[in-house]
């Protein structure tokens, strides 16, 4: 039996969904994108062009929910389906789009640069607990206008795992698609074996910007999976009661699914988000707050009820250094996400709300993720009888360590952490330098990055990627991109 977390009673789910539908009629959604307005009007919604307010009848939304697929796979860049969006499968990727990096030597934040992102990408490739890549930081050494596509460009040179990404502009989405096509070898191959999912974020409350709406429509039309990231901020940009915040999330996501499916019925879309419970003392958006976790797990349950794949931003911390607060907040969110059955949990490595990435935190989070994945495997009988035969054989002898039964089962039954988790004697710990978790994580991060091996992206594809990214950079005053850390490519 798999342990699961269900926060909402069935009738409460119904009421939340019911009110979500009603919000789409009154006050309706505000949509700053002409193509989306045309699609909605064409389907029978009432559109007030002047105010850009759309009132969407339930039956249009219901139709969209029927055509949206219940599940889909993301593939590795060599074609293996490894990430399953659907059912209760739980997978993890790093939190996305941080602007700073926690410096491994000073322990303080600084702007993230090309080398930082490449190191993050390599580390994610090497950490077995992390299932997918993300465009985890925005590099400060290129113009902000190409911040989105530059991350994808860098990542594509180093990755095999699928990637969660997103565009910051309408035109850059096309550049990013062009790169994915170069990697996949064409539109048909890319649509058949998706490797990337694009985050599309409605603005709370109930608003779609021109940019995010267009990204979502373009994804639908080209068979690139889209991931809704609705982010009610309870008590600030949404009602403070948690159930009401979930109602708002439901309405925003329902409108997203509708626009998306009207653009192309059957294209994959994910019910996701990054809500938070507003901090009433500091006026901030705490990701390590229990209220945040409750909203996330509750909307996940709503998404599952509606038959959609799910995503959530969980497993992050608001701490500024990798300390006890950082650990407890990340562990809490990660464990709950696993129990709630969130298909893609974004957040590993991320701290200071959603603004900083840390190699050390990523390595520690990987251990939490390993434990959370073990947790949801639950407890099985394994053998029949469960214990009788073995225990009668050994009687009162404590010799289980020497039994082949132990050798057979221990690595399946027990989660075996890396050396980041210290379980040695005091003496052994002292002998290794009396290191903190942060220092042990730094050692492991460096060791894994050093042992990363190039994935062998063909030279002509790498040249094409660079020429696509360079052409984009030139539009914004940068003639040459920073050099790629070539050493890591094995060339």
């Amino acid at each position: 039996m798999r342990p699961t977390l269900r926060l909402l009673a069935d009738d409460l789910v119904d009421r939340i969904v019911g009110e979500g539908f009603q919000l789409l009629m009154d006050p309706g959604v505000r949509v700053h994108n002409d193509e989306a307005l045309d699609l909605l009007a064409g389907a029978g919604a009432t559109v007030d062009r002047g105010n850009r307010i759309v009132r969407v009848p339930e039956k249009i939304v219901r139709r969209a929910l029927e055509t949206a697929p219940e599940e889909f796979y993301l593939h590795t860049f060599d074609g293996r389906p490894v990430v399953h969006y659907g059912g209760d499968d739980v997978q993890f990727d790093p939190g996305s789009a941080a602007i700073t990096m926690l410096d491994s030597d000073t322990g303080r934040q600084r702007p993230a640069l090309t080398g930082d992102f490449v190191n993050l990408v390599k580390l994610v490739e090497m950490l077995p607990q992390i299932d997918a890549q993300s465009t985890s930081v925005i590099c400060a050494d290129v113009p902000p206008e190409i911040g989105d596509l530059y991350r994808l460009y860098l990542a594509l040179n180093f990755i095999r795992k699928p990637i969660v990404t997103g565009a910051f502009r309408k035109d850059t989405w096309w550049t990013m698609r062009e790169m994915l096509l170069a990697m996949a070898g064409g539109q048909a191959a890319l649509a058949e074996r998706p490797v990337a999912v694009f985050d599309c974020c409605p603005s709370p409350p109930l608003l779609w910007s021109d940019l995010t709406c267009q990204n979502m429509i373009d994804c639908a039309r080209h068979g690139i999976p889209a991931e809704l990231v609705s982010m009610p901020l309870a008590g600030a940009t949404s009602p403070v009661t948690l159930a009401a915040a979930v109602v708002q999330h439901t309405a925003e996501c329902l409108s997203g699914v509708t626009i998306h499916q009207l653009a192309k019925a059957g294209s994959p879309i994910v019910w996701g988000g990054s809500p938070a419970a507003f901090d009433m003392r500091e006026g901030t958006t705490p990701m390590g707050d229990v209220g945040t976790w409750l909203i996330d797990c509750a909307y996940t349950q709503v998404g599952k009820t509606l038959g959609l794949p799910t995503h959530a931003y969980l497993g992050m911390s608001d701490a500024k250094i990798v300390d006890a607060q950082c650990g407890l907040e990340s562990a809490g969110g990660t464990v709950l996400a696993a129990l709630a059955g969130v298909n893609m949990v974004s957040g590993a490595g991320m701290m200071d709300f959603e603004s900083c990435q840390s190699l050390e935190k990523l390595v520690i989070d990987a251990e939490v993720i390993g434990m959370a994945k073990r947790l949801i495997l639950g407890i099985e009988a394994r053998e029949d009888p469960i214990a009788l035969t073995l225990m009668r054989k050994l009687g009162h002898r404590a010799d289980y360590l020497a039994e082949t039964h132990t050798l057979k089962w221990f690595s399946k039954e027990l989660y075996l952490p890396s050396a980041v988790i210290d379980r040695g004697s005091l003496d052994a710990w002292q002998k290794k330098g009396s290191k903190s978790a942060f220092e042990r994580a730094r050692d492991r991060a460096r060791q894994l990055i050093a042992s990363y091996k190039a994935v062998g992206v063909p030279a002509d594809v790498r040249r094409e990627l660079r020429s696509i990214a360079t052409a984009a950079a030139r539009k914004f005053g940068m003639n040459e991109l920073p050099p790629l850390p070539e050493q890591a490519l094995g060339v």
Partner: protein, 219 residues
């Protein structure tokens, strides 16, 4: 042929397959491979690899123990063959090991005994709650050169000191090297009570014992 089967024996130890190790040992004997070669070039290299993998964090305690069991079973088969050829396995050394009086913790001590045995030591495991007199009597009876004292409690680790003193009183202290171990035991404690050796885990204990017997023979 001989090389190939010896390699397979090594691999079976590393993979933790005692039945296969025994089976391959039988095959090697039937194929007239020298029993001493089976030990030196088949079994022992396997144990060294297992020890290394454990130290590297790749292997865990059950891997270690099952490999040692495979080794032990193969040795039981080899010993009569060696005797019939008048060949003697030169033990790395003779070790007496036990958990000290007042302490009934067994796992760590047995682990060390098993690993020492699998690495070529003749081991006399006295069990748990062992009085000082029994250690002394066994040293006299066996001529052992290493004594291993295990204690898992802060209240019983002091007994390690009194056993070392008892060995001195009995005039045996210069004849043996004393190793101490157990959860509360540290290098500092070992130095403080005048022990010769200390290790954090069973693999370390083998290395420490080898170092100590090296000293013994050199002296």
């Amino acid at each position: 042929m001989a090389n190939e089967i010896l390699k397979k024996i090594t691999t079976s130890i590393v993979d933790g397959e005692p039945d296969l190790t025994l089976d391959l040992t039988e095959q090697a004997l039937a194929g007239r491979v020298d029993p001493m070669a089976i030990l030196d070039d088949g079994l022992l290299p396997g144990m060294r690899i297992v020890g290394q993998k454990f130290s590297d964090g790749e292997y865990f305690l059950p891997n270690l123990i099952v490999a040692a069991m495979a080794m032990k079973r193969a040795m039981a088969r080899l010993e009569p063959e060696l005797r019939s050829r008048h060949q003697v396995v030169k033990a790395a050394g003779t070790v007496i090991i036990g958990t000290v009086q007042g302490d009934i913790h067994e796992i760590g001590k047995t682990l060390v005994a098993t690993m020492l045995s699998a690495n070529g030591f003749a081991v006399h495991d006295l069990g748990v709650d062992v009085p000082a007199e029994q250690f002394i009597a066994t040293v006299k009876a066996t001529g052992a050169t290493v004594v291993g004292l295990s204690a898992l409690l802060t209240t019983t680790m002091t007994v390690q000191r009194s056993i070392i003193e008892a060995l001195r009183t009995a005039g045996l202290r210069d004849r043996v090297k004393v190793m101490v171990g157990g959860a509360p035991v540290s290098r500092q404690w070992a130095d403080e009570i005048g022990a010769d050796g200390y290790a954090e885990d069973a693999v370390g204990a083998v290395q420490e014992a080898l170092r100590l017997v090296g000293q013994t023979t050199a002296a």
